[in-house]
Subunit: 426 residues, 2 copies
C-alpha cells in the first residue's frame, strides 16, 4: 500500500476514492448525528468520508449499563468500518486537531489532511466540570466507553480490596447530577447494592455501602412531567438512594465531595453526570460559538459565514433555540444535515430544520422507569420500563448488538439468579 | 466491617466462617481444576475458600476468539464470587505470594494469610518462552483474558494506523507454535484477512497481509491422528496461512522473528503459543517439581511429603505420567482432588486417579475443525466444527455465557454479513 501522490487529501492508496469527481463530504464524528448524516447521504451523488477517533460508534444511552456491569462494552459499540462499508462511505480513524474553513481542510492526529467540499461537524461534546475544583482530577464521567469501563473496574476493584483486607471502611458512591444519566446510574448502583452485593460479597455489610445522588436544583429529571419526577424520586428513595436536592458541589476530593453548605460527603467514587460542553479545541476553528461552546448555526443547520459547513448533534445550537442534547435531536439534525447537502448538490434550496419531539425516558431499576411520551401518555413502572427496553433495543445499530443487549439486560433484570455482573479487571 | 482479631486466618468480618469448626480447605486457582474441586466438595463437611488473582474464571479454550474479536471478554469469563456464592464456598481475591507447608499457610498480596487443613494447588501455569531471546519482550501470548485483549487491540490498532497513513508497510502476523492454540489463532486470522479485511479496510491490500505459522516439529497438531493433522495443514494452507514446519525460533525482535536457519520473518505482531510452565514463584514453596516446573504428586494427587496438599490441573504431574495440559485433565483431576479430601475427612482411604481420555478437538475456521474422539470417530470439516461448538458451549459456566457465546460465534460464522468484529480500543 503506497500513498497516492496525486491526491494528498485522500487516505493513501484508496482505490475506491481516487480521482472521484463527486463532491467530497467529510463527516466528523461517528455518533448518532454523524451516522444518520452518512445514512441520509447514501443515495446522493457525493463521496463521503466518516471520521472518528475510535473505530467504533458508541450507543451512549446504555453506557451506564456497562459502568454497572450488565453489558459488555462490545454489545453497545458498533464497528464504524462495518457501517461505512455498508453505506458506501469511507472511514478514516483519527482525532480532529484543527478545522480550517478558509482552506476547507480538516487535520487529524494521524495521516494526511482531508479537504472537503462540504463539512458536517457532528463530533459531539465532552464532559463539563463547570470549573469545580478537583472534579476533573477525581470525579469519574461516564460519557465514553473507556470512562464507563473505568467506573466499573474502580467499583469492583474497591469492593474486592475492602473485602480482602476487611478494613473497616464503608463504600460510598456519590453521583453528581440528577438528570437521566445520574438517576439511571444511582438507581442501578443502589439495586446492585441491594441484590448483588449480599450474594457476591457476603463479607461486606450492605448497610455500609451508600449511594448518594446530588442535584443542584430542587428536583430530579428536571425536563420530565412533575408526576414522573415524583415517581422517580420515590423509586430512588425506595432503593435506598440518599437524595440531596438543592445541593451544589463546591469541590471534589479524592475520597469525598464538599458541598456549598459545607457538608462533606464521603465518596470512594464520585460519578460526574452534570452536563457537557464543546471541546476547547473547537475555539480554534473560527466558528461562532454559543452557550457551552456549541457552534451556532442557522435554521438549515449551516454556519452563516461558511454555508458549506453544517453542524449536527450535541455540538450544534440553532440560533437561540437549544435542543436537548439527546439521541433524538442528534439523529434528526444528522438526517437533516445529510438531506440538506443532497439538496445543495442538486441545486435545490435548503429547508429549515423542525425538531419532532418524541419524548424522553429514563430507567431507575428493575421493571421501573419513567417515559414522557410527547403528545402521548406519561408512563411509569413496568410499562415505562418495557417501553424503554423496546426503544433502546430497536435503536441499537446492528442485529448482533440488538440480540446481545436484549439478552444482557434480560439476564440482569429477569434471570432467576438476580444481578449478573460482568467483571472487568484483567 | 472490622477485622475479627480472634481469627487472623479469615478474611476479616466474615460472619459466615467465623469459628467454623469444619476443616478448612483452601483452593488456589479458579480455573477448570479449581472450580471442579470446589464443586466436588459442595456436600462435604468442610469449609472452602477459593482464591484467585482475578475475580472471574476464564474459559481459556475460547480466548483466541476474544483475541480475534468475535467474542467479548465478558462472554468467556464467569464471576468467581457468583460461583462461590452458589457452591457455599468463600471467595478471596488475591495473588498467591508464598505457600508454607510447614505452617500450612498461604500468603497473598492483599489481606491476611490463610491457614489451611487441606490445600489444593490448582492455579495453573504461565507462558513458557523457553528462554528464546526477545520472546518475553516482543511476543504476545494469549493465555489470559488481558493478553487476548492486548492481541486484539494491537492488531486493530496497527491496521487502523497503516490505513490512515497509507505507509507502504505490509502487515505480517507470525504465530509461533503449531498446537491447538496456534492452529486456531492462525486459521482464524487468515479467515479474517480473507473475509473481513476487504470489507472493513478497503484501503488496504489483503495480499499485503500475511499470516505465518511457525512449528518446530514436522507437523501441526502433534497429538492428533495423522489424517486430522493433514486435514488441518491443508485447511490452513487453503486459507492462505504460510506454514513453516521444522522451523525453530532463534530470536523474537520488535518487527520480526529470526529462525534458527537464519531466515528473518517480518512480524508486526508475534503471537506466542508454544507452551506453558509453572510460575517461578512455585520454586520457593519447597515442593517436588518435575518437567516444566510442574509439582510432582502421587497417584491420588497428593504431595508425598505433605499429604494434606493436593495438586490439580496444569500445574501438577502424576509421578512420570504427564497428562496433557488441557481442560479435561484439569476438570477430572480437580474433581478427584475434591473427592479425595472428602474421603480423607470421612476417614476413608484415598483412591488412585484414572484419566478418562475423551479426545481432543481444534477449530481451523468457519465450518472447519478436527475432532479426535477417543474410542470414537475422527471427524473433520463441518461435523467436527459442530461437535466443537457443542462441546465448548455446553462446557461454559453459566447460562448467560452459553447464550452469549453461542450467539457471538453464530454471528461470526453464520451471519449473512460475515465476520462481525468487536473492536477494542477506548
Amino acid at each position: 500500500m503506497t500513498a497516492d501522490p496525486s491526491s494528498r487529501d485522500e487516505p493513501a492508496g484508496t482505490s475506491i476514492t481516487d480521482a472521484d469527481p463527486r463532491p467530497h463530504v467529510v463527516v466528523l464524528g461517528a455518533g448518532f448525528a454523524g451516522l444518520s448524516t452518512v445514512r441520509a447521504l447514501r443515495k446522493a451523488p457525493v463521496r463521503v468520508t466518516l471520521v472518528d477517533r475510535h473505530s467504533y460508534s458508541t450507543f451512549q444511552p446504555l453506557l451506564y449499563q456497562v459502568a454497572t456491569g450488565a453489558l459488555n462494552p462490545g454489545d453497545i459499540t458498533y464497528g464504524a468500518r462495518g457501517f461505512a462499508a455498508h453505506t458506501g462511505a469511507f472511514f478514516r480513524k483519527g482525532e480532529v486537531t484543527t478545522v480550517d474553513p478558509a482552506t476547507r481542510t480538516v487535520s487529524l492526529d494521524v495521516g494526511p489532511d482531508l479537504h472537503y467540499d462540504y463539512l458536517v461537524i457532528a463530533n459531539g461534546v465532552t464532559t463539563n466540570y463547570f470549573g469545580v475544583p478537583g472534579a476533573a482530577e477525581h470525579a469519574f464521567p461516564i460519557y465514553t466507553r473507556g470512562e464507563a469501563l473505568a467506573v466499573r473496574d474502580r467499583m469492583t476493584g474497591y469492593l474486592d480490596r475492602i473485602a480482602a483486607t476487611g478494613e473497616a471502611r464503608g463504600a460510598s458512591v456519590v453521583v453528581v447530577g440528577g438528570g437521566a444519566t445520574g438517576v439511571e446510574m444511582a438507581g442501578t448502583l443502589a439495586e446492585l447494592r441491594n441484590t448483588v452485593l449480599p450474594d457476591r460479597y457476603p463479607e461486606l455489610d450492605p448497610s455500609g455501602v451508600h449511594v448518594v445522588l446530588v442535584e443542584m436544583t430542587d428536583k430530579v429529571l428536571p425536563p420530565f412531567a412533575p408526576r414522573l419526577r415524583e415517581y422517580a424520586a420515590e423509586q430512588l428513595r425506595a432503593r435506598g438512594v440518599e437524595l440531596r436536592l438543592e445541593a451544589a458541589v463546591k469541590e471534589v476530593r479524592p475520597d469525598s465531595v464538599l458541598l456549598a453548605d459545607g457538608t462533606e460527603l464521603a465518596a470512594q467514587m464520585t460519578v460526574w453526570a452534570t452536563g457537557v460542553a464543546a471541546h476547547d479545541r473547537v475555539k480554534g476553528w473560527g466558528l461562532p460559538q454559543g452557550k457551552g461552546g456549541r457552534i451556532v448555526v442557522g435554521g438549515d443547520l449551516r454556519v452563516a459565514e461558511h454555508p458549506e459547513i453544517l453542524v449536527a448533534g450535541d455540538i450544534g445550537v440553532i440560533e437561540d433555540d437549544a435542543l436537548p442534547q439527546l439521541a433524538q435531536p442528534a439523529l434528526q439534525t444528522g438526517r437533516h444535515a445529510g438531506r440538506t447537502i443532497a439538496r445543495l448538490v442538486a441545486g435545490e434550496p435548503t429547508e429549515r430544520f423542525h425538531y419532532k419531539d418524541k419524548g424522553t425516558m429514563a430507567t431507575i431499576g428493575r421493571l421501573s422507569a419513567v417515559a414522557d411520551i410527547a403528545h402521548g401518555p406519561k408512563l411509569t413502572g413496568v410499562l415505562a420500563w418495557l417501553a424503554w427496553m423496546l426503544v433502546h433495543i430497536f435503536a441499537l445499530l446492528g442485529n448482533r448488538n440488538r440480540v446481545m443487549v436484549s439478552l444482557g439486560l434480560a439476564f440482569r433484570y429477569l434471570a432467576q439468579r438476580r444481578g449478573v455482573m460482568v467483571v472487568g479487571d484483567d
